[in-house]
Subunit: 385 residues, 2 copies
């Protein structure tokens, strides 16, 4: 490591993707912990739970029955945060009327899907070999493609991708009535991350507005491209591959790092090595390589503290309705934000100073990368079977 001193001193690091700083205090893990303990997850779940609203064949809150699906199954969330149809609302912002300036609102419509990862109630991505994760990535790609605007700059790529992806025998989601702007694919895993059902699943929220976080990243990437004629994440991949110290794992298509600017203790970033703008850009081989990367991250997480590791994860990519420039400036990547810090039961709280001041972490990204690099063996649950 070039700047070994950063292992010992408090410092701030810059996140070029969001344009913000965070505080790193490497000596701080020495403090004793007397606070809240997380409940370790119940380890023994049945393969089928008759009360689970995600298991095949079961009935959901609004009375619909799930098919006997084989791999994945997508449906509209019964309690969606955004809806396709709602009352019209056209607020007026008038710069002479301070109330209209200080109380600004805009309507948001959209669709929220739930997508199961497997018919089995008791598996997680960490338990699934890459070929079993592949159908999930294929489904993500199909849903992304079907929600792209008719004039989307990646329509040709989408057509090509769809040709080699088998359609889902358990049905596809239909196309929304109005064109939407952004598709956020994310997974909340574990009770510590607000997940209320252990059946493996993710959510897909598709909204009429570009949300803050991908919006900020896109604007940072756009600025970087404009200023340097190269891509921010292309340069970042290059730097990380030269340095090596934050790399967790890689294959030909993806680099897995604890990013320089990680906030969560074992935060991970999966970055496409070549210029992939969105899911539809991935080749058959790359989709499998992406499945491998997801499998590596989730298995290593579980191995780290020998527990069902909680996290939120999500993909950032080109908007589903965008200009050529926006598509070109986008760079496909996936974030993993896991809260555990020291063990299966002691988490990092981003509270107090983190909320009022700025994010703060207790171990360096380099220390986290070493630990994740070192626990790549077989899934601990399997090894002890």
């Amino acid at each position: 490591m070039p700047d070994q001193v950063l292992d010992d001193i408090s410092h701030r690091r810059y996140n070029p993707l969001t344009g913000s700083w965070l505080l790193v205090s490497p000596h701080r893990t020495k403090r004793p912990w007397q606070g809240q303990q997380e409940a370790p997850s119940k380890v023994q779940l049945p393969e089928y739970d008759p009360k689970c609203y995600l298991c095949p064949g079961n009935t959901r809150a609004q009375g619909d029955a799930n098919p006997q699906y084989q791999h994945t199954f997508a449906f509209l969330n019964d309690y969606s945060a955004v809806k396709e149809e709602q009352q019209e609302y056209k607020p007026e912002v008038n710069s002479d009327d301070i109330a209209s300036l200080l109380l600004q609102a805009q309507p948001v419509t959209g669709r929220c899907y739930v997508l199961t990862f497997s018919p089995k109630h008791n598996v997680t991505l960490a338990d699934m070999p890459a070929p079993e994760i592949l159908p999930i990535i294929q489904t993500w790609t199909r849903i992304y493609a079907s929600h792209m605007s008719p004039t989307h700059p990646l329509q040709a790529e989408a057509a090509r991708a769809l040709q080699s992806i088998p359609s889902n025998p358990d049905g596809e989601v239909d196309v929304p009535k109005h064109q939407l702007r952004y598709m956020q694919i994310f997974e909340n895993k574990g009770a510590a991350m607000g997940c209320s059902n252990p059946h493996p699943h993710c959510q897909i929220w598709t909204t009429s507005e570009l949300p803050e976080e991908p919006g900020r990243e896109l604007s940072q990437m756009t600025k970087y491209c404009a200023g340097r004629g190269r891509h921010l994440l292309a340069d970042y991949v290059k730097v990380e591959m030269e340095k090596g110290e934050r790399i967790v794992w890689q294959n030909e298509a993806f680099l897995v790092v604890c990013p320089w600017w990680a906030v969560w203790p074992f935060e991970v970033l999966v970055i496409a090595k070549r210029h992939v703008r969105a899911l539809v850009d991935l080749t058959d081989a790359e989709r499998l390589q992406f499945a491998e990367a997801v499998q590596e991250v989730t298995r290593r997480y579980d191995n780290l503290f020998e527990t069902n590791f909680p996290y939120s994860s999500g993909i950032h990519q080109a908007p589903i309705d965008c200009t050529v420039e926006e598509a070109e400036n986008s760079w496909f990547h996936m974030h993993f934000y896991p809260p555990l810090l020291r063990s299966a039961t002691v988490r990092k709280f981003l509270v107090g100073f983190e909320m009022l001041g700025e994010p703060q972490r207790d171990i360096t990204a380099e220390q986290a990368a070493v630990r994740l690099r070192d626990c790549g063996g077989e899934l601990y649950r399997k090894a002890s079977e």
Copy 2:
């Protein structure tokens, strides 16, 4: 409410203090909750706990003994996130060297204090009448004043304030060796907010750099002043007092609102009504009125779900080292970020979409304000004694 429709539709609201948007989904509280339940806090604590490192007379981790203090007691955190002295580090950023651009760091020094609110182990701000909270505000003011740079634009105000604040018989913290830039006063209350000791206390982190959050607010307030010749929060106070619908409580000096842009379910903002730049600007009468506001917020929180309500709170004000312009653009306020959503045991998780997309809330700020307005009676614990 002028735009009643916002009670029914999904929409985004703009936060002018940070320049960012959040998603509001008012219909979403209807979904059933099967996820994590918070442990209700142990209600019966002793007034003195021999094992508590904050109780008067007890010995702390590094061997120092606490005095038999009367009101407040401040000491250097034994596990500070930043330290006063550390190895030097002077990174070079060179625009031709992409590694130096993408892996940016800067050293941070500072001091972290712990400040107890009361010698009693088993009280909280909600239990303390305003005159008992006053000494805390006086101590905050003294510590702020003693950490101001010699050329700080508010030195005259500080001198005046200190004249009327009795010095703490239990000792004052001494002055740091190097001038620091910002003082973040904050409280984490409750295990759900990462607090590991129920003894009432806050923390004060004083750093050589201006943290992200107050930095962002200062820059938004500066832009607003430059553009309109008025203060953002002055205008906001005016708008909220005209509308009324988000007001929780007020006295002559302070307005307590659920801000238009609240993210946490019962988020509250306490705003000075006149142009107070920092603690040292407050008059004797205003310090007591601030104590009243803090007492109102914390008591109402506890009454809402009849529980020891967890939250993180903190003060934003002028930096301790700043220009005349920075001091003039600052406007004293205090944020309360509480996680509970539906009851003493069901919290809002800001995960998944909130981390990857943008913050999302399930009830409107107006609905939250009505509920907090309605639970102003005596503290529920007292009423049932």
